[in-house]
Assembly symmetry: C2
């Protein structure tokens, strides 16, 4: 295949957090592939749309939201077949990724199917993780502290084990797990200093101490940061 596939991180939401490299690559790609979720949203395209080359072919890729493996694999097989045809025709194809392509992103599924078969270039992007820290104006981690990124859907036993004694933690994919995560943070001594960041870097950004959420209140699309390192911030 004589074309090139670019896996492009478009950052956490603010279009100004695209890199200069992402802007250059999007301005040159003849084909723009982007995920579309069940509700029709195409967030990566919304973020980066202004920089897409005029006349570029748009290739929406419908993402199944099923938890099972098979539908997801079939969707990626189909998406990659379409992309491969464009690469075989010598085109530059950009696959848009929210945040960074390789930080909990969909790019790994494309990589796994095309690595070794096509020229692939990865353009790293600003993650929702550092965007959340910037919004909260708090360190993610410093010095020789361990930073743990914990997806909220993990079971209680694993989360509890990772939280115990941790100095710097980011909990991602909080969604409907909020009440359970809050109880675990209380149990492991993280709740008092925890900060909830919703929709970092977008118009809907909201930064709230975990303790300020009343019973029954829940944040949407959020990351929770816990930091008790660097001598608890006195350094």
């Amino acid at each position: 295949m004589s074309g090139t596939l670019f896996l492009v991180g478009v950052g956490p939401g603010d279009p100004e957090l695209l890199t200069l490299k992402a802007v250059r690559v999007l301005g040159a790609a003849e084909v723009i592939a982007y995920p579309v979720t069940g509700d029709g949203a195409a967030l990566a395209l919304e973020i980066a749309g202004a920089h897409v080359r005029a006349g570029a072919l748009r290739l929406p890729i419908e993402m199944p939201m099923a938890v099972e493996r098979a539908p997801g694999q079939a969707a990626y097989d189909a998406a990659v077949a379409k992309i491969a045809a464009h690469l075989a025709a010598g085109r530059r194809v950009a696959w848009l990724c929210e945040g960074d392509p390789l930080f909990y992103g969909s790019a790994m599924y494309v990589l796994a199917r095309l690595a070794g078969r096509a020229q692939i270039e990865i353009v790293p992007g600003v993650t929702s993780l550092t965007a959340a820290a910037a919004a909260a104006a708090r360190p993610l981690a410093a010095r020789n502290e361990v930073l743990k990124v914990l997806p909220a859907p993990l079971d209680d036993a694993r989360l509890r084990a990772e939280l115990m004694g941790a100095e710097a933690v980011a909990i991602i994919k909080v969604g409907r797990h909020f009440d359970r995560i809050r109880a675990l943070l209380e149990e492991t001594g993280h709740a008092a200093g925890a900060i909830v960041i919703e929709h970092a870097t977008t118009a809907g950004q909201r930064v709230t101490p975990l303790a300020a959420f009343g019973p029954g209140e829940r944040p949407y699309f959020s990351t929770i940061l816990c930091y008790r390192g660097a001598e608890a911030w006195g350094e």
Copy 2:
């Protein structure tokens, strides 16, 4: 203080990985503060220099490399006093940070001293972590996997405990700890798949399987990525 302090992530090394926002902020700041290490290097300024406003005042901040706390704290006290004077005079001051300001960065020391006293805006940047993954073309983490960032200077017991059973690990600040880290990765079953990334996104970038380093060979300025998640990459 009527000025504004911008803590600006300039990314991992490639000047094209600055964000549009970083470029805008640097083009408007009247004062540019940047760390200078003992050997005279000013890497953050080298990365971002092309976007600094013509005529901006340059404020090099000498960073003591001492491990003890006191000299570092005195250096930050002195640096912040200079910045505060510019902020009091109503100026826009940009503090350049390699990678992201709050991901193992120096910005926390500035934040701790000025939070609540001055207007501060944080511009997140691309980290060396996602840059390393992009260079290696491998996932950092996916799905509901835990990602651990482990600074190499930590003691063996802590590193061993964190490595045991981990699915996705990034080891940072490897430097002179390479031989010890390699032994720990062998002991905990991570060595076979580990990748060493040196100088990600710069002209000196080199990506090498850990297993390819001969005895006595050591990488410089590197990150080591270990990934055995997503059903060991078959997804």
